[in-house]
Each structure stands twice: as structure tokens, then as C-alpha cells.
């Protein structure tokens, strides 16, 4: 059998491909290693979690950390977990969904008007909205606290929704305005000619076409709401999951394994969200960038 020799360009292309894959594998390990460490720890006892050298696979795996969280038992290490992790997960879900709904309703109409109407100060108005993202959260938390206290919304999911909506709106507006800018104006105009109002044109004509943009904005807003710690810490009494997770880092107890199990449960919703909607998110964001 005659041996096949590969040309130099082919060899070079294969070498580049191999290098790219090697880099990707390295990157994947870099990204996934902490997650592996987390999952691994969640099946350990506190003693095994601090073993030297570290155990990369639990030698005596335990479900104690998960059963403590799911059944409200005292965790290995003594943390009184109760059912607050599950309750907080539910609250985080509710806050995230309500924040997304509020964002899409307010941000969608705002982005549509910013995309379609030019008026004196329209650019200033757009940049003002984006500027709100630059304000450090700690600088305005006291103002939010006073407002929510006066409204009787401290330690309330609705209070958090108001706050989260106020600082996630710029993301929604940015993503959706860019998306709407990429859609031909003739579509709206045809609807208007047919007798639709602006809102009807947005709802019946633009919204179905802009679905990837809406989904991308919704995902970004949900993820930001899900992981937000500082406002949840200050404005609520461990209502949502981030401050509950922080509570496992105690003064006098070693709760790292319970924290690991609770964190694994807490990352399930955002990971599922990312997996299910990733192509929409990419398309939604790419549309804005490509414009």
C-alpha cells in the first residue's frame, strides 16, 4: 500500500486545529474544575473536606449534606439548615421571574420607543439609562432602603423586584434597542397602515420576530437577579438564596460541605436556563452586536 504524504498546508491546518482543541480542553478544565470541586465537596463529611492531601473523589461519600437541606435536618458540622435553602430557592425563582416580566414589559416598550422615535434629547435619554449601570450599588442602597421601608416592602420579594428591575432595565433596553434597530421599520409601518396602534404593532408584529432578543434579555436579567447578593443582604432577612448561602460561612462552625451542597442546588436553575436558551441568547446578543 502506498503511503500517503500530507501537504504542508494540511499539516499546518491540523496542527492549528489540534492546538485549538488543546486550548479548549485546558479552558474547559480551568472553568469546570471549581465546579467539580464544589460537587465533590457536597458529598463529603467536614473532616474529609479538609483532608491533606485533598480527596478528588469522596472516599466515604455521604448524602448527609443534601438530606439536611431537603429534609430540614441538622447538617454534618452542626448547621441548622431547616428548610430555608428550599424556601430561598423558591423566593429567588419568584423574584427572578417577576423581575424578568417587569423588565420585558418596561424595557421592551422603552427600547422600542428609543429605537423608533427620534426626539430632542433622545440620545441623552438613552445614555442616561445606560449611565445608571455605572452607579456603584453601595452608593444607593441606603436610598432604596428608605424607599422600601416607607413602602412597607423591606424583606419582601416585591421590594427586591422593584430594586432589581431598576438596575437591570438598562441591560434589557440595551439588548432590545439594538435588536429592534436591526428590524426593518417597514414592518411597523405596515401594521400602522392596517390600523394597529404602536403598542399593537410592538405586540403583534415586532415581539414574535424579536423573540431571540427578548429571550436573551430575559436570561441576562434572570441570571443577574438570581446571583445578586448585596441588596438581598441589606433589604431582606435572607429572603433569597445568595444571603442564605453566605450564612453558611459562620464564625464557629465549619459548614463548607453543606454550603457546597446548597450551592450545587442553587446553580441548577441558571445552568438549566443557560442550556435551554443558549442559542437564543447568542442570536439575541449577536443581532445587537452585528448591527
Amino acid at each position: 500500500m502506498a503511503s500517503r504524504t500530507l501537504s504542508r498546508p494540511v499539516l499546518r491546518r491540523r496542527a492549528v486545529t489540534a492546538l485549538l482543541y488543546a486550548a479548549l480542553v485546558l479552558f474547559a478544565v480551568w472553568v469546570l474544575f471549581p465546579f467539580w470541586f464544589l460537587v465533590n465537596s457536597s458529598f463529603m463529611t467536614p473532616a474529609e473536606a479538609v483532608a491533606v492531601p485533598p480527596h478528588w473523589i469522596p472516599e466515604e461519600p455521604t448524602l448527609g449534606n443534601y438530606s439536611a437541606i431537603l429534609a430540614g435536618q441538622v447538617a454534618p458540622g452542626g448547621a441548622q439548615v431547616g428548610l430555608r435553602v428550599l424556601t430561598a430557592l423558591g423566593e429567588s425563582l419568584a423574584v427572578g421571574i417577576l423581575t424578568v416580566v417587569a423588565n420585558l414589559a418596561l424595557g421592551g416598550t422603552a427600547a422600542y420607543s428609543m429605537s423608533r422615535f427620534r426626539f430632542r434629547g433622545s440620545r441623552l435619554s438613552y445614555f442616561s439609562v445606560l449611565f445608571a449601570r455605572l452607579v456603584p450599588p453601595i452608593a444607593i442602597v441606603a436610598a432604596f432602603f428608605v424607599a422600601l421601608r416607607d413602602l412597607g416592602l423591606i424583606n419582601s420579594r416585591y421590594g427586591l423586584v422593584i430594586v432589581y428591575t431598576s438596575f437591570t432595565l438598562p441591560i434589557t433596553i440595551l439588548v432590545l434597542k439594538n435588536y429592534f434597530d436591526g428590524l426593518p421599520r417597514e414592518l411597523d409601518e405596515a401594521a400602522l397602515v392596517d390600523g394597529a396602534s404602536r403598542l399593537q404593532a410592538l405586540w403583534y408584529v415586532i415581539r414574535p420576530i424579536a423573540r431571540p432578543g427578548f429571550i436573551a434579555a430575559a436570561c441576562l436579567v434572570f441570571l443577574e437577579s438570581w446571583g445578586e447578593f448585596f441588596y438581598a443582604l441589606t433589604l431582606t432577612n435572607q429572603l433569597t438564596i445568595p444571603p442564605v448561602l453566605a450564612g453558611f460561612r459562620g464564625f464557629f462552625q465549619f459548614n463548607w460541605t453543606t454550603l457546597a451542597a446548597a450551592t450545587v442546588l442553587a446553580v441548577v436553575p441558571p445552568v438549566l436556563l443557560a442550556l435551554v436558551f443558549q442559542r437564543y441568547v447568542v442570536r439575541g446578543l449577536a443581532q445587537g452586536v452585528a448591527k
Partner: protein
């Protein structure tokens, strides 16, 4: 021991005399604490409610972020009735009017007089304002691996800083441990180690006017020389400046380190976590014949209390921070059982129920003798002191990195303190 008055009864009596109906002015109290055994906190509040007839709502925040959250809430006008607080925030809260001083409350002097003398300055300012009562207290102890110390040929743990250095050097030279000494030298905790070591050497850190007199004592430089030698001669964990709880717990329970200087409750943590070296761990007094550093956090009263709410809050504060009206340390007993936390009253350690609650591996004789010599500079509760703690972390880090000599570091820290105190 019966330190408390029966305030509900007294309130009822007063109300009867004045014609006021206590139930009419009673309201639900708000109690803010951090996330350590929240179910137990709730049980205590329920117990108090059942006995007193008052009502109280619990709000729990995580320890991580508690200072930021509680200060933001106060800044935003929130005024809880009772709240946990860190002692380093006491001065700031007092200046801002965010807590109620306790001086006019019945029986408070008896409570303060019942404290260990060295604990008084944690709760009473230099001008006599009583700011708080103890949530828990702890003393600095030297935790050590008895098997390692014995293997290196020593009959017991070190009594002086020089012995500390020598034992670490021998343990390392004999190959028993590559990193004999571990502590929490994170930036924000270094000041605590500085104070513990200065006090141990009998050095007065701050005078009654909160002036940094440690710079006038040449032994302060010796303390920092020891500190630098331990680090630069490789006797500490190589990552001691960044090691946090998992590293130190793992290192002690797994037999990586021979010594850990820290609060006395750590021995229970080590034993609860367990590990091959856990059974070899003991605690001994910190080296030095001077004082040991008293640590711990506090419970305070909010400023907006009056009438029956004030009486209820005071009754609850006493119940929560010491002996109840029947003389039992009901609440502190549960903290001992859970985490070996104390309250700084001699009568606490004399209580048979408390003695029985401590694990067998605790030598209460050693702990109480440490409480007898425990103290803390009053300056540590002043509002400017937080800034000093940050500066000390930076200065000591610079010294360990070789960017400053111990003498320069002492002088710089003293200048920092004077500057910060002057505002």
C-alpha cells in the same frame, strides 16, 4: 446567681401604681442577629416570650456582610430593638446615636460588676457609658499538637516567645512539620494578633487617653522581631498571610501544623471536624506572663425604646446575655454546647451546668486563669480604631515582606494611631 430583676413583675407593679396598662403600650420587639444557629435563637426568644408575656420577632442576617447590612439599615433609619454587634463598631454606633446606653436600667451596674475585671472595658466606655452586654466572649489561647511537641523532645508547650521560636525551629529541623506555626494573619485580623502578643509580653498598648504608648516600650520592637523571624525563617505556614478557616482547620486536624494561636473555641471546632491529629490537640496559655487578649461580640439595645417596650427589651437583653431571673445561664449554656462560647462572668464558669456542658478535652482551670488575666485596650472600641486595624495589617505585611524594619513598623503604627485618633 440572680443578677436580674423580675422586670415584667416590676413593670406591672409600676403600671398598677401609675394607672398605666402595660399591655396597652406593649409592642412586638425586633431582634436582629447573625446566622449562627438561628433555630436556637428563635427557641430562646420563644422561651423568653412564654415567661415574660412579651413578643419578639427575629431577623437573621449572614455574618458575612452583617456589618455592612446593619450599618446601612441604621443609616436608612431602621432602629431594631436588640441587635448583635461587633465590638469594633461600638464607638461608631455610640457616636451616631444608633444604640441606647444602658446606664439608667435597673440592675445594670450589678451586671457590669459581675464581669471579669478585664472584660469591663468592652462594655463600658472610658467616660462610663454602658454600651452593651456580652453575646459571647473568648480568650486567646495557644493550641498545640501535644504529640509533635513531645516528639521534638519538649515537655510542654512554649511559655515565652523565645521558646515558641525554639520549639517551632526544632519541630521543623526534626522533620516533624515543615510549617509548625499557623495563625489567622489575614490583613483584617493581624491587629488582634499584635494586641495579643503585646499584652502577653506585658506591654501597655494604649493609655487611658487612647494614646499609643506601645511605641514607648522597647519590647514592642522585640515582639515584631519575633514575628518577622517566625515568618522569614520559614517556621510559619508559607501561606499564613492568606490562610482562612479551611486551611487552618485542615492543617491542625490533619497534622500539618503544630501550633495555632487563636480563640479558645477553636479547640471544639477542631474536635468537631475531626481528623488524624484532632485527638492530639490541646490548648495552653499564650506565651508571656502579661495579659491575654479578651475577644467576643455583644448585644445592644436600639435607641427608640420607651415604656413597656424598654422594660421588655431590657428583660430580654439580660436573659440573652447572662443569667436569667432564676440565676440560670439558659442562653449561654446552649452556646457552650454548640461551640464552646463563653460569657465573661466568673459565675458562668462556676455554674455546674456550664462546667458539665464543656467537652472533656477543655481544661476549665486553664481557661478561667486566662480570663483572670484577660484584658483588652479600651481604644479598640473607639470609632477611629477600625482604621487603625486596617493600617496595622498593611504595616505588618510590609514588614514581613522586608519593606520595613520592626522599629520602623512600631513607629509607623504609633503615628497611624495618633493621626487616626485626631481625625
Amino acid at each position: 446567681m440572680g443578677l436580674g430583676l423580675s422586670l415584667p413583675a416590676a413593670a406591672a407593679l409600676l403600671a398598677a401604681c401609675s394607672g398605666e396598662d402595660p399591655e396597652a403600650t406593649r409592642r412586638t420587639l425586633r431582634f436582629v442577629g447573625w446566622d449562627f444557629l438561628p433555630d436556637t435563637i428563635q427557641t430562646h426568644l420563644d422561651t423568653w416570650s412564654a415567661v415574660s408575656g412579651g413578643t419578639v420577632e427575629l431577623e437573621v442576617l449572614p455574618v458575612t456582610g452583617y456589618p455592612a447590612a446593619i450599618q446601612t439599615r441604621f443609616r436608612g433609619g431602621d432602629r431594631p430593638d436588640l441587635f448583635y454587634n461587633f465590638t469594633y463598631l461600638l464607638g461608631q454606633f455610640l457616636e451616631n446615636g444608633w444604640n441606647r446606653t444602658l446606664n439608667d436600667l435597673p440592675g445594670v451596674e450589678e451586671r457590669i460588676d459581675a464581669l471579669y475585671p478585664g472584660a469591663r472595658s468592652r462594655f463600658v466606655t472610658a467616660d462610663g457609658q454602658i454600651t452593651s452586654l456580652p453575646y459571647f466572649s473568648a480568650v486567646f489561647m495557644n493550641h498545640y499538637n501535644a504529640a509533635m511537641v513531645e516528639q521534638a523532645g519538649f515537655s510542654g508547650p512554649p511559655q515565652t516567645l523565645q521558646e515558641y521560636y525554639d520549639q517551632c525551629a526544632k519541630i521543623k529541623a526534626d522533620g516533624i512539620s515543615d510549617a509548625p506555626y499557623e495563625s489567622s494573619w489575614l490583613n483584617e485580623r493581624i491587629e488582634e494578633y499584635l494586641m495579643a502578643t503585646l499584652l502577653g509580653e506585658g506591654i501597655t498598648a494604649f493609655d487611658d487617653a487612647a494614646q499609643p504608648v506601645f511605641a514607648d516600650d522597647p519590647r514592642s520592637v522585640d515582639v515584631l522581631e519575633w514575628w518577622r523571624a517566625m515568618y522569614q525563617d520559614g517556621l510559619t505556614s508559607p501561606t499564613i498571610l492568606t490562610d482562612d478557616n479551611p486551611e487552618l482547620i485542615g492543617g491542625m486536624t490533619q497534622g500539618t501544623f503544630a501550633f495555632y494561636a487563636g480563640h479558645d473555641y477553636w479547640l471544639k471546632i477542631f474536635n468537631d471536624v475531626g481528623g488524624p491529629a484532632a485527638a492530639d490537640l490541646r490548648m495552653a496559655p499564650m506565651p508571656g506572663a502579661g495579659q491575654t487578649l479578651l475577644a467576643g461580640e455583644v448585644v445592644q439595645m436600639g435607641p427608640d425604646l420607651e415604656g413597656t417596650a424598654l422594660k421588655d427589651a431590657w428583660d430580654l437583653l439580660k436573659f440573652y446575655t447572662g443569667a436569667d431571673n432564676d440565676g440560670n445561664f439558659t442562653v449561654p449554656l446552649t452556646w457552650v454546647e454548640a461551640a464552646a462560647l463563653a460569657v465573661p462572668y466568673p459565675s458562668f464558669f462556676e455554674d455546674p451546668a456550664i462546667q458539665a456542658a464543656y467537652p472533656d478535652y477543655y481544661d476549665l482551670g486553664v481557661i478561667t486563669s486566662e480570663y483572670d488575666r484577660a484584658g483588652t485596650p479600651a481604644a479598640r472600641a473607639l470609632s477611629w480604631y477600625q482604621g487603625f486595624q486596617v493600617k496595622v495589617g498593611e504595616r505588618v505585611n510590609d514588614m514581613l515582606a522586608g519593606d520595613a524594619t520592626p522599629a520602623e513598623t512600631v513607629a509607623n503604627m504609633a503615628d497611624d494611631a495618633v493621626e487616626l485618633a485626631a481625625g
